[in-house]
């Protein structure tokens, strides 16, 4: 144990004194404040904050990722190149202790630097509203939509299975199915899927004079005095001339209709641009004691003469403050940290059998594929639909073992003030640290413990 610690502190000293870290530190210390001053986003205070936090955090994460790759590969490959490892491994140090020490050293470096820079970003973010001249409304907006950690509830997906089957049978009976559909199983499935989304969309569309009601359970705002928000986006079947939709909204516990006691039900009438996100602020006391909340929309036929549709994924959402910005930010930083741990293990793994340039190359390749893993997985899934099962059982898991940095990107959450829950963090930790990092480290240990240390390959 003591030798692990000795190796770790030595690795830390190396990264600091060999000026590997210094370049990155200086870069960030210059860039972050510069970004805070120069980035204005869309001109609003909220836009400005969003731009800063997303670019600031992404840049920090990116540079620290590179630093981690460099520091971890350098610290192990230089041992071989400069042969200090001869003097280390002839001491009572087991090989796994050397490796763990290296990983620990790089992680310590990451903790230090990530702590420093996330504190800087946090400080700048918190203090920006005080230095920027902004109106009351803008400040309020930032407070409600940015400095918060809001949980979002989307309406439960309607179960349309039966309806799809019925419609399909009807179409089949009446011979209205398009040609070719009944030929193959895949054809049938595809057609049914299309039918399903069509029916689902139908359930989220209101013709003029019609209404839609969504019901939510488990709405748990941390403070009933705060607001909750109905976030929505209109789509239309036919563009209205002024591109606006006039909507009547009702938010509250509609089960108690008529009775006077109980929670308030809030009505709203508004006119909004189509295909644009809006948020209706509703006092949180609209939520019933059991966490029930209903949201109703009425397509007012006096002003609209088009069908109003709420798109499937993001057409409607109820947001409420579930945690503080600070806690959310901290969890976001944790996601970045997991990423760095994974890269540290990757770097050590690569340098357990490769020389410096090759190890770095391998790490960079994995890193960049990791940042577009969503795209890779999707395209693989698409391609493998028709490929042999052998292919999808071998390459598939390997592709899924790649780090998925884009999927667990903290800025996604922080930008919209979205709650990044502990359960998500735990899930990511489990996957990135306890599965992927552990596998890498284990492989590295096995390779390293069989490696002939003084063997020189040219």
């Amino acid at each position: 144990m003591r030798s692990i610690w000795a190796v770790a502190t030595n690795t830390l000293k190396q990264a600091l004194r060999m000026k590997i870290a210094v370049v990155f530190v200086v870069l960030l210390l210059v860039l972050l404040p510069a970004m805070a001053i120069s980035m204005v986003g869309d001109g609003t205070l909220k836009g400005r904050m969003q731009t800063f936090i997303s670019y600031g955090l992404s840049l920090t994460s990116f540079l620290l990722c590179l630093l981690t790759i460099l520091a971890s590969t350098y610290s192990l490959t230089s041992e071989f190149e400069q042969k200090q490892i001869y003097t280390v491994l002839t001491k009572p140090v087991r090989r796994f202790e050397l490796l763990l020490g290296k990983v620990l050293g790089v992680i310590l470096l990451d903790i230090g630097l990530l702590g420093l820079f996330s504190a800087l970003i946090y400080g700048i973010t918190i203090y920006t509203p005080r230095f920027v001249k902004a109106g009351e409304a803008e400040l309020l907006q930032v407070q409600n939509e940015f400095f918060t950690a809001r949980a979002g509830l989307i309406p439960a997906k309607a179960d349309v299975g039966d309806e799809v089957e019925k419609t399909y049978e009807r179409l089949e009976r009446t011979g209205q199915l398009p040609p070719g559909v009944t030929d193959s199983k895949i054809g049938r499935e595809n057609y049914k899927n299309a039918l399903a989304s069509q029916i689902e969309l139908g359930k989220r569309a209101a013709a003029p004079g019609h209404e839609l009601v969504w019901e939510f359970n488990n709405v748990k705002p941390i403070d009933p005095n705060e607001s909750l928000f109905v976030r929505f986006k209109y789509d239309v079947s036919m563009n209205p001339p002024d591109l606006h939709v006039y909507g009547k909204w009702l938010v509250g516990d509609i089960r108690q209709a008529g009775s006077r006691v109980g929670t308030p039900v809030y009505p709203f009438e508004r006119r909004d641009l189509i295909r644009t996100f809006y948020e209706i602020e509703v006092p949180a006391d609209a939520v019933a004691e059991d966490g029930y909340l209903a949201v109703g929309f009425f397509n007012d036929p006096r002003f609209n003469n088009t069908v109003v549709i709420f798109p499937l994924e993001d057409g409607l959402e109820v947001l409420y403050k579930a945690d503080s910005f600070t806690a959310n930010f901290f969890r976001g930083v944790l996601l970045v940290f997991f990423r760095l741990v994974l890269l540290a293990c990757l770097g050590i793994f690569a340098s357990s059998f490769l020389s410096m340039p090759v190890a770095i190359l391998l790490c960079l390749i994995v890193f960049f594929t990791g940042t577009i893993s969503g795209f890779i997985i999707e395209s693989f899934d698409y391609l493998s639909k028709n490929a042999s099962s052998l292919c999808s059982y071998t390459i598939g898991p390997i592709i899924r073992l790649l780090p998925q940095f884009d999927k667990f990107n903290p800025t996604k959450f922080l930008l919209g003030g979205r709650l990044l829950s502990w359960s998500v963090v735990a899930k990511v930790a489990g996957l990135m640290i306890f599965v992927k990092s552990a596998i890498l480290l284990l492989l590295a240990l096995v390779i390293f413990s069989y490696r002939e240390i003084a063997r020189i390959t040219v």
Partner: protein, 409 residues
């Protein structure tokens, strides 16, 4: 557990990636090194000395055969904890300073903070680098780095010391000091395995040697036995009159034996040490190593010697310099810490007449290869130069010769 190191037909073959180009770096090596023995592994460049050590230490895996070190496997931390190893070059972390370097290695041995600190200071004193202990070792000269490398190998007070060409890059005083140290350790019951092709060094300290060539042992045995010329005798006397010399010659010639009479010279080593000590006495500045012949306290204390008194009394002893003339000058080392004993030792050596040098050209164990003899040739050239130098300039030189060579930096 009879032997400190034992190898059983140890073989190491290097082949390239495709398994071609075989190099038999070590070939069927059977070594048996006793406990408490100073064993020298000699051989020309590329004869497999370093490879042997690496296999012994587990840095390379043998192609065939096996080795037992201190009765066990050298990959066992318990065994490693009792070994000190100085590699061919001092591979150090450039960005650490001397003290941090030793601290790092001390930690690897799991030494407690107190012991570590005590030993580090003692070792820094011993290798004369205390004054530069806060400089990164990357800025050190070769010899200074070597000294740190040596200190690193000693920090655990090892039972078995494995030294790969310990004296390369060291100045003569450092070399001398290492030799003294080795003898000192041997006296305390430690085992030393050392590789070198500096024959003079090996000759001075080793009990037994083996000469490697092409990975095979060509000759081995006790140094004294290998080198003794049974048909020659050497007589060294104090100052005697020419008449007496004539009489002795007469007696020798009566026995039909040849006889040459010369005045013994200082060895260049002795002369060098004198010069440097003189410079140090004048406290000339150096940014290099400060030469002392001090040996770390914890290294000289006998296995039973627990008390401070014991430690103070036990002074480094060299086999040759046994006469203890009283010290004639005051302390010389600028980094003195109050242990006067070792320095007096140094001075007594310096003031002593040169030790008898074994006649040149004697190192001729039977099947020795060409490179060895070449080295001998070089050595004798050096010796000739030395003789001329010392015989003509010695007297005037004393005064001003210490200008240039104040340190090794």
């Amino acid at each position: 557990m009879e032997y400190a190191i034992e190898t059983f037909s140890l073989t190491k073959v290097f082949s390239d990636f495709w398994g071609r180009q075989k190099v038999y770096a070590v070939d069927n090596l059977n070594l048996k090194i006793n406990y408490n023995e100073v064993f020298g592994l000699l051989g020309p460049n590329g004869s497999g000395k370093t490879t042997t050590l690496k296999v012994l230490l587990g840095l390379l895996y043998p192609t065939k055969g096996k080795s037992i070190v201190l009765g066990g496997d050298s990959s066992d931390p318990k065994i490693n904890a009792r070994i000190g190893f100085l590699p061919e070059e001092s591979y150090l972390y450039k960005y650490l300073n001397a003290r941090e370097t030793l601290d790092f290695y001390g930690r690897l041995f799991g030494l407690g903070a107190k012991v570590r600190k005590m030993r580090i200071e003692a070792l820094l004193d011993m290798v004369g680098l205390r004054a530069v202990a806060n400089r990164p070792v990357g800025t050190f000269s070769k010899g200074m780095a070597r000294r740190i490398g040596l200190a690193q190998a000693l920090i655990n007070d090892p039972d078995l010391l494995i030294l790969d060409e310990p004296t390369t890059g060291l100045d003569p005083i450092g070399t001398r000091q290492i030799k003294d140290l080795i003898l000192q350790l041997a006296k305390r019951g430690k085992t030393v395995l050392l590789c070198s092709h500096l024959l003079a060094d090996v000759e001075d300290v080793c009990d037994r040697i083996a000469i490697l060539y092409g990975g095979k042992i060509q000759a081995k045995g006790k140094v004294k036995e290998l080198l003794q010329q049974t048909n020659k005798r050497q007589i060294t006397t104090g100052s005697i009159s020419d008449r007496s010399v004539e009489r002795i010659k007469q007696i020798v010639e009566n026995e039909q034996a040849e006889c040459t009479v010369t005045s013994p010279m200082d060895r260049l080593e002795t002369f060098f040490i004198k010069t440097v000590v003189a410079a140090q006495q004048q406290a000339q500045a150096t940014s290099g190593a400060v030469s002392t012949t001090k040996i770390g306290d914890f290294l000289t204390s006998g296995p039973r010697a627990g008390s401070i008194l014991d430690k103070l009394v036990s002074a480094p002893v060299s086999r040759q310099g046994s006469s203890d003339k009283p010290a004639t000058t005051e302390e010389v080392s600028p980094v003195e810490t109050g242990e006067s004993e070792p320095d007096r030792q140094l001075l007594s050596k310096l003031t002593e007449p040169a030790e008898p040098v074994p006649p040149e050209g004697v190192v001729k164990p039977e099947p020795v290869e060409t490179e060895t003899s070449q080295q001998e040739a070089e050595k004798s050239i050096l010796e000739q130069l030395t003789e001329r130098h010392t015989s003509t300039d010695r007297d005037e030189n004393q005064g001003d010769s210490h200008k240039g060579d104040a340190g090794d930096a």
